[in-house]
């Protein structure tokens, strides 16, 4: 049971990582990051039976932070969209030297 859960978690994480790397739409990238987070959550929950209850507590933390992050992230994306009228991340490269 544990190994299946961990395999699923790994698959989800790789999908998420792949999505972040290849997609250009900021919202899609954002969703992929959420996917990565939840892949990690899944492995934490799965491992808690063997290791201890700490993993499950940690999952709550991650979910809370993810919710806050989603709120801030989406707000940023919306304001970027208002300015550029696009959410293609290739268009934003102002933050450099």
């Amino acid at each position: 049971m544990l190994s299946q859960a961990l395999v699923l978690s790994a698959v989800l994480f790789v999908i998420g990582t792949f999505g972040v790397l290849v997609r250009r739409n900021a919202i899609i990238m954002f969703l992929c990051i959420e996917l990565q987070l939840n892949a990690v959550n899944l492995s934490l929950v799965a491992l808690s039976r063997a290791v201890g209850i700490d993993g499950q507590v940690f999952v709550f933390f991650v979910m809370t932070v993810a919710a806050a992050e989603a709120a801030v992230g989406l707000a940023i994306i919306i304001s970027i969209f208002r300015h550029y009228e696009t959410v293609n991340v290739d268009s934003f490269n102002l933050l450099k030297w």
């Binding site: 790397l21 250009r24 990238m29 991340v89 290739d90 934003f92 450099k96 030297w97």
Partner: protein, 727 residues
């Protein structure tokens, strides 16, 4: 009284009531308070002037009365000196009343204590420091009063008095300090004030440069002084005068390398401060300062600090025959050398400057041959007559300056060729300066006769034991220099005060006698220059007509007064000579012979020298009066040997060539090559490298989220790979 004073140090066991100084700290502190008050006024005055300039006005001292910043310093400056002088006199009277054997040391607080080295802020009161304090505060007060008149119209008036008070404070620290480090504080402090006052008119580049020259040349001397202190500390573990001089005869071997090194390094320090060969070059340039400053600092007090120091450390010098003969040699060489330069100078202050260097040479000769009391005696009488000469020249320059200023004449107010016949306009100044001239020329019965003659006599009488031949040479040179002194001083007087006036017809109408604030100090100093010598008539001439047949009660007073200071050194010297058998079968006092090298006693040679000096003075008056002098602008340049003397033997040029220029060349090499090429080059390469690396790394900051995500992922994979491979 003199007889008992002369005896008491021999039987110190029955030492009388203790000397208890009255308010000793206040003597030193009063001038410091004067400095603070005047300094505050100077700052206020500067603020007001700045405000006035900002408003586009000019601060005119003649309209609307003098501001308080100008009236108050006239009271505070001389006032604190007078109070200080009064305190010194009170203490002097009390000290005379008791038979003081050991110095009284007043300790205030521990200045520094590091390991075994402790220095107390302590003042020492003994016969030598008392004489010095009397001279510094007494002559200092007169010069302060003179300054009130002389500097009246100067915009920097309060600043001037602040510096002058500060100088007196440091000078008093110098002469009363109870240890070498405290003395050194005063030593450096007077150097600072000298620098500030030489460059008092700092707007003039030449004058501020003269101040720097004085300061820098003195650094060379201070190096010597400090090295001497280090050697002393290694040998004694303390630098307190009482301990060092008390233990020196036992702790140091007579004529040993250590004591010789100490004395030679001390001599270097003294030569810097007292303008002796080879460090005398700063003093003539120091004449750039206001004339009362030249009188106070560069004639009467500060420049005699070296003589005071040698007299203070007389035990050490007596322990080193080499050190002593070097001091005397430097002294007599300086006396003769400076006198030759003074022969042809045309600037009245330059003549006096070289004359001061020459007279300081005499003092060094005195303390070098072991006649410490004679050296201090000449220091004292010189303070009287040289201060008088400088103040008199100041009065003349003041008058000349006014005359030339009123007629908008650009001629030099200090050039004697522009003067002549000044005696008709300033009879009192002329009379006072003639008295000083006769005193410095060594004419009986003026002060300089007794002091200078005593030094010359002792130089001859010291021709016994080690270096007897050298002392004979010194004696002859000293006699020769005395004749030169008589000539150049008389020449200066005749060129300034006699003959026809060369200032100009219109200008001469503005020449006038100085105000009372200037003439009164001249008068007091003239009296001192006349009678100041009577306090130390040598025993040998006391009973003769030169000593008024012994009618004077004070003969040899100074000699006896200073005996507690000098007797240790005299003892060392006499014992060494006796041990060497040098005095066998010869009549002597304290190791000095009763006859000069070519025969004749003290009386004979005193008579010879004063008659010779009188002949030179009279001859010079007749000769120089016959010169047809022209104003400076019409005078031809001196030629031949006269030009060599006029250009001061080209010593400044020589120093420039062998010291200043090579130093500049080395500095330029270090600047242009070592600093600019090597050090700057290295720093520039490092900086350039950092920039290049920064530029290269900045290429990775693309600002694109995708790149970052990609690189982060790669990094995570790399770390994971490393963990897996390593684990």
């Amino acid at each position: 009284m003199s007889a008992s004073l002369g005896m008491f140090w021999l039987d110190g066991a029955e030492s009388a009531a203790a000397f208890d100084p009255v308010l000793p700290g206040l003597i030193v502190l009063l001038p410091l308070l004067g400095f603070l008050a005047n300094g505050w006024l100077a700052l206020r005055h500067a603020e007001r002037s700045a405000d006035a300039v900002r408003r586009g006005e000019e601060l005119d001292l003649d309209t609307g009365g003098r501001p308080s910043t100008h009236t108050l310093p006239s009271l505070i400056g001389p006032g604190v000196l007078l109070a200080s002088f009064a305190l010194v006199v009170v203490n002097f009277v009390r000290m005379s009343a008791v038979e003081l054997h050991d110095p009284v040391v007043v300790r205030y607080w521990t200045w520094m204590a590091t390991g075994t080295f402790t220095v107390d802020a302590a003042l020492q009161f003994d016969q030598l420091s008392m004489i010095m304090m009397l001279v510094v505060t007494g002559v200092g007060f007169l010069i302060h009063v003179f300054s009130v008149g002389y500097m009246k119209d100067d915009p920097g008036y309060p600043r001037y008095f602040a510096y002058l008070n500060l100088f007196v404070f440091f000078m008093l620290v110098l002469v009363t300090g109870a240890s070498f480090p405290v003395m050194f504080v005063g030593w450096e402090g007077v150097g600072l004030c000298s620098y500030l006052l030489i460059g008092f008119w700092f707007g003039d580049r030449e004058k501020s440069d003269a101040g720097k020259k004085a300061f820098i040349v003195n650094r060379i001397g201070d190096f010597g002084f400090l090295v001497a202190l280090f050697i002393l500390f290694i040998n004694f573990q303390t630098l307190d005068f009482v301990t060092v001089f008390g233990e020196a005869p036992e702790a140091l071997t007579y004529g040993g390398g250590v004591v010789t090194a100490i004395t030679l390094f001390l001599l270097l320090g003294a030569a810097g401060k007292s303008a002796q060969i080879p460090l005398y070059v700063w003093l003539p340039d120091a004449m750039a300062g206001p004339t009362p400053v030249s009188a106070l600092i560069h004639a009467a007090t500060m420049v005699t600090a070296g003589v005071y120091m040698v007299a203070r450390a007389s035990v050490l010098f007596a322990l080193s025959p080499v050190g002593s003969v070097t001091v005397a040699g430097v002294g007599v060489a300086t006396a003769l050398f400076a006198a030759t330069i003074a022969l042809t100078q045309t600037d009245i202050k330059k003549v006096l400057a070289y004359s001061t260097v020459s007279q300081l040479g005499y003092m060094f000769l005195g303390v070098g041959v072991g006649a410490y009391a004679a050296g201090v005696f000449h220091l004292m009488t010189h303070a009287f007559f040289k201060a008088l000469l400088f103040l008199g020249s100041g009065a003349v320059i003041h008058s000349m300056h006014h005359a030339l200023h009123h007629t908008h004449n650009p001629a030099d107010a200090q050039d004697m060729r522009n003067m002549g016949g000044m005696r008709r306009f300033m009879p009192f100044t002329a009379l006072a300066m003639w008295i000083a001239t006769l005193a410095i020329a060594g004419i009986w019965p003026f002060a300089g006769f007794f002091s200078k003659d005593e030094i010359i006599w002792y130089a001859g009488a010291a021709a016994v034991g080690p270096y007897a031949g050298l002392y004979t040479v010194y004696w002859v040179l000293a006699l020769a220099a005395a004749m030169l002194t008589a000539f150049y001083m008389t020449r200066m007087m005749v060129m300034t005060f006699h003959g026809a006036n060369r200032t100009g017809d219109e200008e001469s109408k503005h020449l006038h006698e100085a105000p009372w604030t200037m003439t009164v100090p001249l008068g007091v100093l003239a009296v001192l220059s006349m009678f100041g010598g009577w306090i130390n008539v040598p025993e040998a001439i006391r009973e003769s007509f030169l000593g008024l047949g012994g009618a004077l009660p004070m003969s040899e007073w100074l000699h006896h007064w200073l005996e507690p200071i000098t007797h240790a050194a005299t003892q060392v010297r006499e014992e060494a000579l006796l041990a060497a058998g040098a005095l066998a079968g010869q009549e002597h006092d304290y190791g000095f012979l009763h006859h000069a090298p070519f025969g004749g006693g003290e009386l004979t040679w005193a008579l010879v020298s004063t008659v010779a000096a009188a002949v030179v003075v009279a001859g010079t008056v007749l000769w120089v009066r016959g010169w047809s002098l022209a104003p400076a602008s019409e005078s031809p340049e001196p030629t031949g040997f006269r030009k060599v003397l006029y250009d001061k033997w080209y010593v400044d040029e020589l120093y420039d060539r062998i010291i200043v220029q090579p130093l500049l060349a080395v500095s330029r090499f270090f600047w242009r090559f070592i600093d600019q090429v090597i050090i700057d080059g290295f720093v520039n390469v490092v900086g350039g490298g950092a920039r290049a690396v920064g530029w290269f790394v900045s290429l990775f900051q693309t600002g694109s989220v995708n790149t970052y995500a990609f690189v982060i992922t790669l990094g995570v994979l790399a770390i994971l790979g490393a963990v897996v491979a390593g684990g």
